[in-house]
Symmetry: C2
Subunit: 225 residues, 2 copies
């Protein structure tokens, strides 16, 4: 109940982004090699410091936007990491954020520019400091939430086929899903709308394109898959 500003030390506060994307039916994340000390050259998450003129959430969105050029992406706090020596240089407390992006929205040239690349989940190297732990927590969180919140659409284009959607669930949950059971459940969900459009890219016959109706979801935000 007591607060003394004096005699209490301050710390740097940073954000680190665990950025998931979906490509080639695989879940991937965006990693790069650190271009600064400490830890130069090590694989790491993309991050940045929280400034005076922004909240922690705003800092996370700013950093993500610096990297991707995209705003208003899905982003949720995962956990705050505060071990004394987690940063070898200074006392830095870091708030990890999980982001989901549609890989097709991502400008490829920015990958080069920021020195980051998409890495498959099962090929994640050892990362700087406690970043592997951040990734692991983000993955568990994603697995837990994907069945109760409409997250999967953030990894796909606005229009998607049911096969694509199923592949997202398979990639996140790590297992095969029965096609007929999956589609049965989807049919019972009002806010996944079938459009008149047909995707002819992935099959000769063509597959119906669906859309996530956010407005309808918000009217009745119950979800179970």
């Amino acid at each position: 109940m007591t607060e003394f500003y004096s005699g209490v030390h301050k710390a740097f506060v940073s954000v680190d982004c665990i950025i998931f994307g979906f490509e080639d039916n695989k879940l991937k994340l965006l990693l790069g090699k650190r271009q600064m000390d400490p830890g130069r050259g090590e694989w790491a998450l993309y991050g940045g410091f929280v400034g005076t003129d922004e909240s922690v959430d705003e800092a996370a969105h700013r950093v993500l936007c610096e990297l991707t050029g995209l705003k208003n992406l899905y982003m949720k706090q995962v956990h705050t990491f505060g071990a004394i020596d987690r940063d070898p240089g200074e006392r830095v407390i870091s708030v990890a954020y999980c982001a989901l992006i549609n890989v097709k929205d991502y400008d490829e040239s920015l990958l080069q520019e920021h020195g980051v690349q998409w890495v498959e989940l099962n090929k994640i190297p050892q990362l700087y400091s406690d970043h592997n732990e951040m990734v692991n927590r983000a993955i568990s969180m994603l697995r837990r939430r994907i069945s109760t919140e409409p997250l999967s659409f953030n990894l796909l284009p606005d229009l998607f086929t049911l096969t694509q959607l199923q592949h997202v669930y398979e990639a996140v949950l790590g297992g095969e899903i029965d096609k007929r059971n999956f589609r049965k459940r989807i049919k019972s969900i009002d806010f996944i709308e079938k459009t008149e459009l047909i995707d002819k890219l992935t099959s000769k016959r063509g597959a119906a394109l669906y859309r996530f109706n956010k407005r309808m979801y918000e009217e009745d935000p119950s979800f179970k898959l």
Copy 2:
């Protein structure tokens, strides 16, 4: 990927504790009136600053121990709050922690000493700064997790009756539970052990006392209630 220690500001980092207890078949939390500016006299959570010589998790345990005298309590990070003006004085980023304690372990005289008291969940007043939001998040987290993790035992003495246990679930989930179905499920859980002891305090007939076998749970940490 870049980190500049220079030109980046530091912030105070604090922890705030949402402390749940179970008494009179009600879920309660420990609140007090702030004894310091800013916000002196307002209802608030108990908190403190993170020191140089401790991790954020350690700070949370230290603060909780200052208040209750108890160590090794169940404690989990809830969320980090980082709005620019959440503290009217300085830039303070606060990590909220949820703790579960057995009210009977708690020394009543400490309540007076620290100026805190047990408040029923549905009688929570308006709190200082963003503390109401912290409480709300902690409650949702508790509700979500109590069905998949063996949290309930932290709110009870080592030995408890099934009726007590059921009351904990009813208080947390907010609804009545069928006694027979509840007990059927408990019977199928190996790590909730029936002892030979009988509690004669709450009923004339006497009720069997049970115990949470932590070792057994850790061997097979699956749980669903």
